[in-house]
Symmetry: C2
Subunit: 470 residues, 2 copies
C-alpha cells in the first residue's frame, strides 16, 4: 500500500503544535493526540534569527563551545586572601553582576559595600561608609566577573576576605569565590551590623587559614565530581548545597585535623561549615564559571557564558560577543517569604549565582532537588517540567551531571540565545531574596527569570557580527 | 434524573479490576477505562483471612501498633564493646536472622563465625574454628534479635566488637548494632582472612574508642531525624547510606577533634567513616528495630515487626504473635554481580538489614534513591512503582519519612500480614549478595522477596489466636 493510501485507510493519530483548540477538537473525536508546546518567536527577532541561523560558523562554534565547557575539570586547589590573590587594596571592592555605580546600586549592594569598608578599616561606621561611596572617589568598584571571580547575592569582595581558588589542570585557568557566611544577618544579603563584621573577622582569622592548611595538605578536591554526586543527593547546587557541603567536609577534615591548628579552632570550623548548608555554593559557582569561561570568545557561538545580577541590572554575556554585557532591569522573584516579610520588602534579583543555571544546574536541575521546590514555592511536577523545559533552550545535556529521576538525563547545559528568542522560553533561576533596604538581610527565596529584552539584544549583536563577516 | 436513568443516558466510564481482557475490550470501544491491579488471595488463606478480618481486636490493635512505631525517637547515645554491653564472653556469638545451628548455616555465616572466633582468640586458625563449631559445644550461638540487636549480612557479633547504642528517651528502651566494616573482604560477607581480622582489631582498638568519646561528648544524635533527611538526599538507608554517613560525621566530628585522642587516629577515623558510604546502615537498622519493637506483643495486631535472614531461613515476627518466628527458605536475589561472579556464586538472602524494609525504608523507599536502582538492576519507573506498590500492603505512611519525588508521600510503614495474603504482593527488599562459599565476601547486589509461604503461616497463627479468644 502506498503511504498516501495508508493515511486514508488507517486510524489517524494527530500531533498538535501550539494553541490547544485544534487538539481539543480532535480529542473530542476520540483520536489519539500528542500536544507540542509552541509559541511564536520573541517580537522583532525574526530577521536576526534568520541571519544567525544562516551563520556558517554557528553550528561548529556552538559544538566547540559545548565541548570546551564539558571538558573543564574544576578542582579546589587553594584558599587565599583576596588582597594577595587579586591584588586588592583596602579601598578596592568587587561586586556581583554587570558593572554598577554607587548611585544606581540597590539597598543590599550598598549595605554590603558599607560593611566591607568597615571590615577593611577604611571607615569607622556606616555613615562614614555611605559618605565615602557617595563621594565617588577614594575607592574602586568592579564586577567579580572582570577578575575571574563570582560572588553570591551582593557578591562584595574586599582585600581581607579569603577566597577559594579553583583550577582546570589541563588549561591552568583559575577562578575564585569568597567563603560563604551562612544564613541570617550576613553581608551578602546587605546586612552590615557588628555581628556581621565580627563573623567576617573570624572567617579571615580562623576559617580561611584552617581551610588553607587543609586544602594544601589534601591536594586537589574534585569539585566537578562532587557536583555530579550532589545531583544524586537532592542538591541542585544553587539553593540547596547540603550534600556538597558534607562531601567537602569529608574530603578536607582529615587533613584539617592533623594541620597543627588549635583543636578548638578546627572544631569551630567543622561546626561552622557543617552548620551551613550553603557553604558549597561558593565552590559550585566558581566551578561553573571555570567551565563556562572555556567558551568565551568563540566567534559565531550563540551560547550564554554568564548570567549575573547586581540588584539593579540583570546582565548576560555570550560566547560569540566577547565580554560585552547585555543588560535589562532585574526582576523581583516570585516565592516564599521569611517571617513577616512580603513581596514589597524584596530587592530585585541579585548575585552572580545564576552562573549555576548558566552551566545547567540550579533552577535548570530543579528535578534533582524536589525537597527544595516547596522552599521556593513550587511543586514536584513543576520541578520535573522545569528541567525538561530548559532542555528546549540549551545546546546539550551534560553527561557527567545526570539527573536520576529523569532517567539519568544530563543537566540541560549551554543556553542558546537563538533558542530563547525562537521559543520565548526564559531561563529559570531559583534564588534567595535580599531585603530592599540596606542592612535587612534575607527576606525569602523564590523563582525568577531574566528580563526578556536582553536576549533579543544579544541576538541583534550576534546577527550584526554575522553580517559583518559576510 | 434518577441515578439509574443517568447511567443509561450519560457516557459510561469503566473501572476494570484484575485481568486485562475486559478492559481491553472496553478500551477498543473508546470508553475511558481505569485499570485496577488485583490478584486473588494466596492459596488456602481465605478462611484465615475471614477470621482475622472479623477479629474485634484487629483494627484498634493495628492502630496502636502503628502509633507506637511512629512515636519512637531513636537517638545514638553511646558506643560500647559488645562484651560489656551484652555480657558476651569470648565464646558467645550472635548472628543475623532467626535461630540457626552450625550444621544448617550457610557459607558466609560459617565464614563470619570462624573469623569472629579467631578475632576473640578462641582458636588460632580457620581449621580450628571449623572444628570448634562443628563439635557443637564450647560456644553459644544466638540471634541478634534475641538480644535487642541487629546485624547486617551474617550479622556476627562477638565480645570485642564495639556496638552503637540507640535509645528511645520516652521509654528508655535501647537497641544495638555493631560498627560497619566497609566493603570488600569483610566479616559480614563471610570473609575471614588476615586483612579482615586486622581491620576488626583496628575497629576495636581505635574506631570504637574514638567514636565513644565523640558520641559521649556530643550528646544524643537524632538518628530518626537523620533518616528523614536521608530520604531527601537520595539514600533509602539500606543499600545507600551516603548522606546519612556524612551527616553522622558532621554531627560527631567537632567533639572528636577536641576529644584528646591522637590527631592521626582521629584523622584515620574520619577517613574510614567518610570512605564507607554504608557506615550509617548500622545506625539505620537499630533505629528501625527500636521503632518496630514498640509494637511487639500487641494482641490482635497483624503488623510485621521483624523480617530477618540467616542465609538459610527467612523469618518474620508479627506484633500479635509474640516472639514466634515464621520461617521459610531464603531466596537468592535477582540483580547485578561484581566482576566475574554470577548467580551460581550467590548465597541465599542473609542479614537483619531487612528491618529497614519492615520499617518502611530500604526497598520500600526505592523511589527516594533512583541513583541505586541501576546498582540493583532496576529502572527509575520500577523504583517509583515499587514504593507505590508497598503502600498496598502496609498500614500507614510515616509522616516523618516523606519521599519528595512522590509528592512527599510518607514511607509505606507497617507490613500487614493479612494485606500480603489478600493481595499476594510480597515485601520488596534490596540487598547485598554474599558469596555462597565461606571466605568469598560480596558478589553482588539485587532485589529479593521473602518466601511467600511464611505469610500464610503467620496468618494461620493469628487466626488461631483470634479463634482462641472467641
Amino acid at each position: 500500500m502506498s503511504p498516501t493510501s495508508e493515511l486514508l485507510t488507517s486510524s489517524p493519530s494527530v500531533v498538535a503544535v501550539g494553541a490547544g483548540m485544534f487538539a481539543d477538537a480532535v480529542d473530542a473525536q476520540g483520536v489519539p493526540t500528542s500536544r507540542v508546546d509552541w509559541q511564536p518567536p520573541m517580537d522583532g527577532t525574526a530577521a536576526d534569527l534568520a541571519t544567525v541561523a544562516a551563520d556558517p560558523l554557528r553550528a561548529e562554534a556552538n559544538a566547540r563551545a559545548v565541548a570546551a565547557v564539558l571538558a573543564v575539570q574544576a578542582d579546589l586547589v587553594d584558599v587565599v586572601p583576596a588582597g594577595e590573590l587579586l591584588g586588592l587594596g583596602p579601598s578596592d571592592f568587587l561586586h556581583a553582576g554587570p558593572p554598577i555605580t554607587w548611585e544606581r546600586a540597590s539597598g543590599p549592594m550598598r549595605g554590603a559595600l558599607m560593611g566591607a569598608a568597615i571590615l577593611e578599616g577604611l571607615v569607622d561606621d556606616a555613615d562614614a561608609a555611605e559618605a565615602l561611596f557617595a563621594s565617588g572617589t577614594g575607592y574602586t568598584l568592579d564586577p567579580c566577573h572582570h577578575h575571574d571571580a563570582v560572588g553570591p547575592m551582593a557578591g562584595v569582595v574586599s582585600a581581607s576576605m579569603w577566597m577559594f581558588v579553583l583550577e582546570d589542570a589541563a588549561s591552568g585557568r583559575r577562578t575564585y569565590c569568597s567563603l560563604n557566611e551562612g544564613l541570617g544577618k550576613v553581608l551578602r544579603y546587605g546586612a552590615y551590623g557588628p555581628e556581621v563584621i565580627e563573623k567576617l573577622r573570624w572567617m579571615s582569622g580562623v576559617l580561611g587559614p584552617v581551610l588553607q592548611s587543609a586544602v594544601r595538605a589534601t591536594g586537589r578536591v574534585d569539585v566537578t565530581g562532587v557536583l555530579a554526586q550532589m545531583l544524586q543527593m537532592g542538591d541542585e547546587a544553587h539553593n540547596r548545597n547540603r550534600a556538597g557541603t558534607l562531601m567537602l567536609l569529608r574530603d578536607v577534615v582529615p587533613a584539617m585535623v592533623t594541620s597543627g591548628h588549635d583543636a578548638s579552632d578546627v572544631a569551630d570550623v567543622v561546626r561552622f561549615v557543617g552548620g551551613n548548608d550553603h557553604f558549597f555554593l561558593n565552590l559550585a559557582m566558581p566551578a561553573c564559571k571555570l567551565a563556562l569561561d572555556a567558551a568565551r570568545g568563540i566567534e559565531g557561538s550563540t551560547m550564554v557564558v554568564a548570567m549575573a545580577r547586581n540588584g539593579t541590572d540583570f546582565g548576560i554575556q555570550v560566547a560569540g560577543t566577547g565580554d560585552e554585557w547585555f543588560t535589562g532591569p532585574a526582576q523581583v522573584a516570585d516565592g516564599l517569604f521569611l517571617g513577616s516579610y512580603g513581596p514589597g520588602d524584596a530587592n530585585p534579583d541579585i548575585g552572580d549565582s545564576a552562573i549555576t543555571e548558566t552551566a545547567g544546574i540550579g533552577g535548570f536541575a530543579m528535578a534533582t532537588a524536589p525537597a527544595i521546590v516547596r522552599l521556593v514555592g513550587g511543586s514536584v511536577p513543576d520541578a520535573l517540567a522545569t528541567t525538561r523545559r530548559m532542555a528546549e533552550i540549551t545546546l546539550a545535556e551534560n553527561p557527567r551531571w545526570s539527573i536520576p529521576v529523569l532517567e539519568f538525563m544530563g543537566a540541560p547545559t549551554g543556553i542558546d540565545v537563538s533558542k530563547v528568542c525562537r521559543t520565548g522560553i526564559l531561563p529559570q533561576i531559583n534564588t534567595g531574596m535580599a531585603g530592599a533596604v540596606a542592612g535587612t538581610g534575607q527576606v525569602g527565596a523564590g523563582l525568577v527569570t531574566p528580563p526578556a529584552s536582553i536576549f533579543p539584544a544579544a541576538l541583534a549583536a550576534l546577527a550584526s557580527r554575522t553580517r559583518g563577516r559576510a
